[in-house]
Point group: C2
Chain length 347, copies 2
DNA sequence: AATTAGCACTCCGAGCTTTCGAGTGCTAAT
DNA sequence: ATTAGCACTCGAAAGCTCGGAGTGCTAATT
């Protein structure tokens, strides 16, 4: 456990702030003017030697100013930083953008990623409230004519998933009736996870009683079901990558872009829902591509409708204080909006 | 009209090829070895002076080798180039990727953009066969319970568009019946364009006979309808931008990315369906951001189901011959696949 | 014991110079 | 009409200088 004197903390704080704002290593002379205590540059230099011994700041070369190390950011975030009160205008932007009418959870969550990236100028991810606790509340097969049929799956949370299939022969209501009855009797009310499991074994057996050849139906049902039960990430502000990654080589940028396009990887990056707000800095992120970035994640809680996540990806030199304040506000607003949305389906 | 001697054409052709492959300005000495005719470097230099006077090649500085000008590429494409026979493996990739089973036109067309970008290492756009000639062949309102209703629109080409709406009160079959009857009687069979027009004036009036308060329904119907009637572009290989644009500054790259993300702009870039294969080079493209790139567009024809487009965006120094050959093959394969797909809905 | 002034030392980066090689245009000879 | 020969040009890479910002250390001061 590292303990710092008050003056050392002030110096570390000032170094973090200066470097984050200006992007240049910070020297002892410029600190003299900024510190609230009156000391000479030589004293600051002596203190900096101690901070460096503790591994909190480093030099870029033998006679350069100092920049915070990962450990330094860590200490700053854990022990110095106070979340900034969120700006009134920012709050207004959030409330206004979430204020409109939405017809899908996914729309709200996708929109959230965009707002957050706009407010931060960084890249953001959002994950909708987990689907694993959702229950199947309805399934429809709508014949569209022309050898097409649309399968629609509805959950108790109001999520709707659908897919159109082309089939060899048109279906009639009579053929569908036993299938629909089977679903209603046996599966409605079960968590999607359970249905997904049963799909492997029980369902084909049971369905055999109702249908001659259940394979076609199983494909359709399984496909919509797994679509409905899969996690979905939304990414906002991909273009912002260009802004905070300027000095890097283009290959790295390309890899990053590619990472952000494969949204199924993002689950590993963000990690499971956890404490309310979490900051991971540099190599604390379990992905080598992101070892020079920082990731702020937050879990939002929509009561019994599950938990979701929001995340901000940016440079390690990031205005953490503002970001964390913003995250807190967003967390609350999003949870509130979603609760409001879910009210429809609770009655 | 420019006329060149045979030797001049050979020189221009070699310059285009060398520069396209190597990326460096081409000098007289290296050409000596490559030309099929035996001449000295001095002779080539003399010829190059003439080609430069005609504006077909330029120097990057006073004593550098030559690179083709836009006019030079133009001449090459129009008068020298022969489309390369498409590689057997490439053809196999195309056929295999289009060979699978699809449930939507859009899936096929989106997949096409990906295949083409993979084969070319460039960025590609595809536009599905125009929807404007599609006719409305069905409309459904499916109550999902929980204050939700799904609107489904089907066209005679088998396109299905759907959207879920949250409504204040649950609908019953009885309430929907007159609306569905109205659509069937009055609108089914009409081109989507016509329906869209009527939506402004006639439909609200006529609907008043059937429904007390038609506004809610009009919103829903209009929303799905305009979704169904809108053009949609698919972009493939956005990441490839990083490869063929390396030397450019990152700001340009960012703008380009942004352009490709706003797919509604792409209609202007690609232009209307036209001749079968068209090459636009540098400033011939009506978009300043693309003035250092080339665009190859092709129109594919699916008989009475309309025409669509495919396009390749790459550097001006592009292996045109291979690209055009590939474009031709792709054009045919895609048209064939789509015809095959449409067969279902023709019966 | 903590702080500070003074100073020699380090290193980066911007700008300048040098050098090398590839390429050109021109002239005169073939 | 073609070619050999040659002086000339320019860019890119490598080497150089120099100023500025910053450091650590020592000795003096509080």
């Amino acid at each position: 456990m590292i303990t710092l004197t008050e003056r050392q903390r002030l110096i570390l704080k000032a170094i973090v702030r200066d470097y984050t704002e200006g992007g240049n290593p910070v020297g002892s002379k410029s600190l003299v003017q900024e510190l609230p205590v009156k000391v000479s540059s030589a004293t600051i230099r002596n203190e900096m030697v101690r901070l460096e011994d503790l591994g909190l700041i480093v030099k870029t070369h033998l006679s350069s100013g100092r920049i915070p190390s990962i450990k330094g950011y860590r200490y700053y975030v854990d022990h110095i930083l106070k979340p900034e009160k969120v700006d009134g205008r920012d709050l207004q932007v959030i409330q206004h953008s979430l204020g409109g009418e939405f017809h899908k959870i996914d729309e709200i969550v996708a929109q959230s990623a965009d707002i957050l990236s706009q407010l931060t100028s960084y890249t953001t991810f959002t994950l909708r409230p987990e689907l694993k606790d959702s229950r199947l509340s309805g399934f429809r097969l709508v014949p569209l004519g022309n050898h097409q049929v649309m399968a629609i799956l509805v959950t108790n949370n109001g999520d709707v998933e659908n897919q159109t299939f082309t089939i060899p022969n048109d279906l009639t209501g009579d053929e569908l009736e036993p299938v629909v009855r089977f679903i209603d009797d046996q599966l409605v009310g079960l968590p999607l996870q359970d249905v997904l499991q049963q799909l492997q074994r029980e369902i084909p057996l049971k369905l055999a009683k109702y249908l001659q050849n259940p394979d076609g139906f199983l494909d359709i049902f399984g496909s919509v079901l797994s679509k409905a039960a899969s996690e979905r990430f939304f990414v906002g502000g991909k273009l912002n990558l260009f802004n905070y990654t300027a000095q890097q080589n283009p290959k790295t940028l390309q890899s990053l872009y590619s990472l952000l396009d494969q949204t199924d990887n993002l689950a590993n990056v963000i990690g499971p829902p956890g404490q309310r707000i979490q900051v991971r800095i540099g190599n604390e992120i379990t992905n080598d591509l992101l070892k020079d970035y920082s990731l702020i994640t937050a879990t939002y809680d929509v009561d019994r409708h599950g938990k979701g996540m929001i995340a901000i990806l940016g440079p390690t030199a990031m205005p953490y204080s503002r970001m964390i304040g913003l995250m807190g506000a967003f967390q609350r607003e999003l949870a509130r909006k979603l609760l409001d949305y879910y009210r429809y389906f609770d009655e």
